[in-house]
Amino acid sequence: MRRELRAEWTKTRTAPGTAWLTAAVVVLTAAASAAVAATVSCPAAGCDQDVPRLGLAGIQAGQAAVAVLAVFAVTGEYGTGMIATTFAAMPHRGRVLAAKAAVLTGLTLAAGTVAVLASVLAARLILPGNGFTAANGHPPLSLADGPTLRAAAGTVLQLALIALLSLGIATAVRDSATAAGVVCGLLYVLPLVPHMAADPGWRRLLWQATPANAGLAVQTTTHLDDLPLGPWEGLGVTAAWAAAALLGAWLLVRTRDVRA
């Protein structure tokens, strides 16, 4: 497994897209968070806003870059046919998949941590100017605050899980555009489906089942009782999706002929 890891790391390190996309994760997340922070305001009478969630809203943009990073990690090889070289050099395909997952997780955790820290910093600097003051009941964002720390750490983990989910999907479908389409559907379109259900029970269930809804429960710090799922349970939903995608990918990659 060490060799696979080392090879995949070298491969990831030497692909020029990696640096750009990793930077994009940070920049998109931080910029979108800052943009949201700059546009919300809290009137003097106070407001009912979930400030950590606002400050971390940039994940909506950053997760797209994470997904592309993950998709490229696989489809770049299928697209060129280099996957045959990879599997000829490392015939234990499960280990290759695991190594890819590990490298990607490490990279996303690192990029996600920087992105989240930048977002929190931006929100901490911008929000007080828009009326989110201690006098209004919104002290500046601080990671020393337990729920805020949970939201921040959970956001980093959610990004890593999205990377793994994307990796599994890309390995299963092998085509970059199709994989990106499926992932975008999961991240951006599927969350709407619960709103289409008329029955509140179904709506709740569908909300609990969609990774982009449930996973972001980890960012919530106010009205926790209204959430259909606890913060960590929500993250567990995304984890379950990622695990299922990787399992499916593993089963497919093990048995399937390697086509260029």
Partner: protein, 527 residues
């Protein structure tokens, strides 16, 4: 026009024929890849299936208390849904004539959210669009044609007719000590509204020609007070809007009715609480209006509004699967171009058509046409069928004109085509499938979803729908925003900040820009 240096392509085909052949070649290329055709079909199927499913799952019933009734909509003379509830003190007027009154005061009360559960929390006050004025109306039937001139609490004097039309007069309301005179004159089919500060110098507020005003109308004083609107944050993100009871009371005097008035001398004023709903049992009116008269002074209390209604589902709410369908279309459009680059087929394409800009233009035409057809199929199936299912399930679906429905369906087709062209161009620019799909989804679908799922503040959401290609979704809005109705006009509620065609134009601008950039890049870069 051809000149002597015409580039001969193929067997001496002229330019236009040459392009036709290119388009034909691209079409053959498209239809012979099973995955692409299937992808488009999946896109259509997603829109239709998700739309009809959500329509089928949406049941509604109306009624008060335990009594359920089907939800009915009152429609105005133009066929649109209207709210027509007010207190009307009137007499019958035959032919031309006029009515003049002085409005002396307007007061009212507003129910706020209960501070202690179960205890009504009522404060004195009037909502901005509380109305008191004079009206001529085709009887007292809800939805009947009318024209009226009125004083409002915060929006000055207005002249309104047939629910949707609204003209502003002078600013300012009424208060004890500064009354306002109003006059409405009928001359044939034309009504003219006047206002005056002193009953002597009259200023025309506006004229109106209501759609169906018969010779004999009811003319009189009316008061209405729309519900108070509060918006609060919902649980799963989103906003919840609550409308609370209000009522307004206005005092009128110096009432003068001229013309052939029924029972001119000694005649009495009739009064109707137009559009009042009844408590279960059908006897007691729910939130009734009332009026008293003493010595030519009328004190009238009214509840409700005389205005277009936006309460109900829209035909475009059946397009809930559109985002999913668009993603499928994007994937196909991107593959249509990136597959060539990856497999080296692009060199073959260039050999067959060395003028690269034209080859790309042909591709654009084909993907645009295919996507238009796909969008048209999807919308033409989903919108009418979905609306039918919604109505069959007891939902009140806001009626729109055939023209509007066609505009929505054709607009969705155009939207799909523009998104496909944008995706194709991004594919040609980026040349990497995943990046292109994500970029286009990030430009089109994501802003729309963020804006309409109201995870964002309202201001941000509106700017997203002005500046990003997601502005194109405006083309599917079937019910306009009415300035004279206080509502939560948010993207979440289906109100876009740009008019339908302007929104579509923004999207098309992005698509055209991307296509030009792609064509330039293509003609410069090595294949």
């Amino acid at each position: 026009m051809t000149d002597s240096t015409t580039v001969v392509t193929g067997h001496g085909a002229n330019g236009r024929d040459g392009f036709r052949h290119l388009v034909h070649a691209e079409w053959t290329k498209f239809r012979t890849v099973r995955g692409w055709v299937a992808g488009m079909a999946v896109g259509v199927a997603l829109v239709v299936a998700l739309g009809l499913m959500s329509a089928a799952g949406s049941h509604a019933s109306c009624g008060m208390g335990d009594v359920e009734t089907a939800c009915t909509l009152t429609t105005g003379p133009g066929g649109e849904a209207v709210s027509d509830r007010f207190f009307f003190v009137h007499r019958r007027l035959d032919g031309d004539g006029s009515i003049t009154v002085r409005v002396d005061s307007m007061t009212g009360q507003i129910r706020l959210p209960d501070a202690t559960p179960g205890v009504r929390n009522v404060v004195a006050g009037v909502v901005p669009w509380a109305k008191a004025g004079i009206m001529v109306k085709d009887g007292v039937r809800e939805g009947a044609s009318y024209a009226a001139v009125m004083v409002t609490a915060r929006h000055g004097v207005r002249m309104q007719h047939d629910f949707t039309e609204d003209v502003a007069g002078g600013p300012g309301g009424v208060s004890p000590g500064s009354p306002r005179w109003l006059r409405l004159t009928r001359s044939g089919g034309t009504l003219t509204g006047y206002e005056s500060d002193d009953g002597r110098r009259w200023i025309v507020v506006g004229t109106a020609r209501p759609a169906r005003l018969p010779a004999t109308v009811e003319a009189g004083m009316f008061v209405a007070s729309p519900g108070d609107l509060t918006v609060s944050r919902g649980n799963l993100g989103g906003a919840s809007v609550q409308v609370r009871f209000t009522e307004a009371t206005a005092v009128f005097d110096q009432v003068r009715l001229e013309g052939r008035v029924e029972g001119r001398t000694g005649g009495t004023w009739s009064h109707d609480d137009v559009g009042v709903a009844y408590e279960p049992g059908g006897r007691t009116p729910h939130h009734p209006g009332r009026f008293t008269e003493s010595g030519g002074t009328f004190t009238i209390t009214g509840v409700g509004d005389v205005a277009p209604s936006t309460e109900g589902m829209r035909i475009e709410s059946t397009l809930s699967g559109q985002a999913a369908g668009l993603v499928a279309v994007m994937v196909v459009a991107v593959l249509f171009v990136t597959a060539e680059h990856r497999r080296g087929l692009f060199r073959t394409t260039l050999l067959a058509a060395p003028r690269r800009g034209r080859a790309f233009a042909a591709k654009t035409v084909v993907i645009g046409a295919v996507a238009f057809a796909a969008g048209l199929t999807a919308a033409a199936l989903t919108v009418p069928l979905g609306a039918r299912i919604l109505r069959a399930n007891g939902n009140a679906v806001l009626p729109v004109s055939t023209f509007t429905e066609l505009r929505v369906v054709a607009g969705v087709a155009a939207l799909t085509a523009a998104v496909a062209v944008l995706a194709l161009a991004c594919g040609a620019l980026v040349r990497r499938g995943a990046a292109a799909v994500t970029v286009v989804a990030g430009l089109v679908v994501v802003p729309h979803i963020l804006a309409t799922a109201s995870v964002l503040p309202l201001g941000v959401a509106r700017w997203l729908l002005r500046l990003t290609p997601a502005a194109g979704f405006a083309v599917q809005q079937s019910v306009p925003e009415y300035a004279q109705v206080l509502g939560y006009y948010s993207p979440q509620g289906g109100y876009y900040p740009l008019p339908p065609l302007a929104g579509l134009a923004v999207l098309c601008g992005y698509a055209a820009l991307a296509a030009v950039l792609a064509a330039v890049r293509m003609s410069r870069a090595d294949a």
